[in-house]
């Protein structure tokens, strides 16, 4: 049950990602909603949870794209794991933590991905990664705190029910 809602959210994010209008792009790159959801959930959890969720995220994204399935799974699994590690190292209530984490985790994820799928134009690559980082950081901030609020409400509801 711990994985149910995160996976449902990932499936929804994957569906939405493929239908994002073109004007939602920064420097030629759209934010990666799958990475955003993955980071947002994994930041509030542990590395093991992050790795499992990352695996599912990679499987979904790789299936949609139809190419480099292995690269998608491996990079997202590692990203999820690293996101989970952030929780144990940093105080995650600070709004800068999810935003900055999204930036460096997106960089790590995409650089690892490009090691297996090299691109010819490095300037375009750098611009796209920068654009994606910015988009992911803004969205992670929104998604992370929305998920946290939902989680807090759920816990209050559970506590009230027990009382």
């Amino acid at each position: 049950m711990r994985y149910f809602w995160p996976i449902v959210t990932l499936i929804a994010a994957a569906g939405l990602q493929g239908n994002l209008p073109d004007f939602i792009s920064i420097w030629g790159a759209k934010p990666d909603l799958i990475i955003v959801v993955l980071i947002s959930y994994a930041l509030a959890a542990d590395p093991e949870f992050g790795a499992v969720l990352g695996f599912v995220a990679g499987l979904l994204q790789g299936r949609y794209v139809g190419l480099s399935m292995g690269s998608f799974i491996i990079t997202r699994t590692i990203t999820g794991f690293l996101s989970g590690l952030v929780t144990t190292r940093l105080f995650s209530e600070n709004p800068l933590v999810p935003a900055l984490s999204a930036v460096w985790l997106t960089v790590v994820c995409e650089v690892l991905f490009l090691l297996g799928n090299p691109q010819s134009d490095l300037i375009v690559v750098a611009r796209k990664i920068a654009g994606e980082c910015l988009g992911n950081a803004i969205l992670t901030l929104l998604v992370y705190f929305t998920l946290r609020n939902l989680d807090i409400r759920r816990k209050i509801k559970l506590a009230n029910a027990r009382l």
């Binding site: 569906g15 990602q17 542990d46 093991e48 695996f55 990679g58 790789g62 139809g66 699994t77 375009v124």
Partner: protein
């Protein structure tokens, strides 16, 4: 912390197992794509994902924000004015072509040539596109049960080639655009019949490579599919030449081609059965 104690940690062990599993699935997926066979795990994943993509696609269509639909009014008006001009010139050209077509039909009849102007096609809807910033691929709502086959040509109603079917599930499939850097299709210059290979660059343009050094290619020439390999039908319009580069050292020429249509501009496409050709 030694390597062994690090490995004993459950999270690290989980990570290693999942990465190994990822490599396994990746290899199995690549093999399945190459051979055109189905892979049960991926079929199941596709089945779970399709409703989500379809739901968001329908919402996007209803909201009118698919592809590049949500653009500033000024840019639409500018494009509209350009298109009106183009329509006038194309009408004149169309009348001329009708004449040529009739003459062509008469000559073909005289020479007893086989007419092959009708393509067998399946109409499909693009339900998701560009899931990653690094690939130009899309998912369509039909699969094996609708007769979609791996490698089949994906074209628009104007008989413009957009790409090819990458892999197929029971009820969905993925297509790769010509602009993707993993795409390569046999093509030729319509006017001079010079053959080459059209390759994606991962950007807005395509390159027509492997042309002979003395190739007769000019800026503005139309590039069509050559039908080599009998997978992509012959005669589908790919785009127009915008630049020609002659490499004297390698003894070859390369042309930069602007594609007629982009994947983000279309919602409905047709998938043609392999091994057909159309006469232009």
């Amino acid at each position: 912390m030694t390597m062994l104690s690090l490995l004993r940690e459950k999270a690290v062990l989980t990570l290693l197992v999942l990465v190994a599993l990822g490599i396994g699935i990746g290899v199995a997926h690549d093999r399945a794509v190459e051979s055109g066979r189905s892979f049960i795990v991926l079929e199941a994943v596709s089945l779970i994902m399709k409703p989500s993509a379809s739901a968001f696609h329908l919402t996007a269509v209803a909201a009118g924000v698919t592809g590049d639909a949500a653009r500033p009014r000024r840019s639409i008006l500018k494009e509209n004015a350009q298109l009106r001009k183009e329509v006038v010139s194309l009408r004149a050209k169309n009348a001329e072509l009708d004449e040529i077509k009739l003459e062509n039909a008469r000559l073909r009849a005289a020479l007893d040539f086989k007419q092959s102007t009708k393509l067998k096609m399946v109409a499909v809807e693009v339900i998701a596109r560009n899931e990653s910033n690094w690939f130009d691929t899309a998912a369509i709502d039909r699969g094996r049960t609708s007769g979609i086959r791996k490698g089949a040509a994906v074209i628009t109603s104007g008989r413009w080639l957009i790409g090819q079917v990458l892999d197929v599930d029971r009820s969905s499939a993925r297509i790769i655009a010509l602009t993707d850097s993993n795409s390569a299709v046999g093509a030729m210059v319509q006017r001079s019949r010079c053959n080459g290979i059209i390759q994606g660059q991962g950007g807005d343009y395509l390159t027509l490579s492997y042309l002979p050094k003395d190739a007769d290619v000019k800026i503005g020439d139309v590039v069509i599919s050559s039908g080599m390999g009998r997978v992509i039908p012959k005669g589908l319009i790919i785009g127009r030449v915008v630049k020609v580069v002659h490499n004297k050292v390698l003894g070859s020429a390369t042309a930069l081609v602007r594609p007629s249509v982009r994947l983000n501009q279309i919602e409905q496409v047709f998938v043609a059965e392999p091994g057909q050709s159309i006469s232009l």
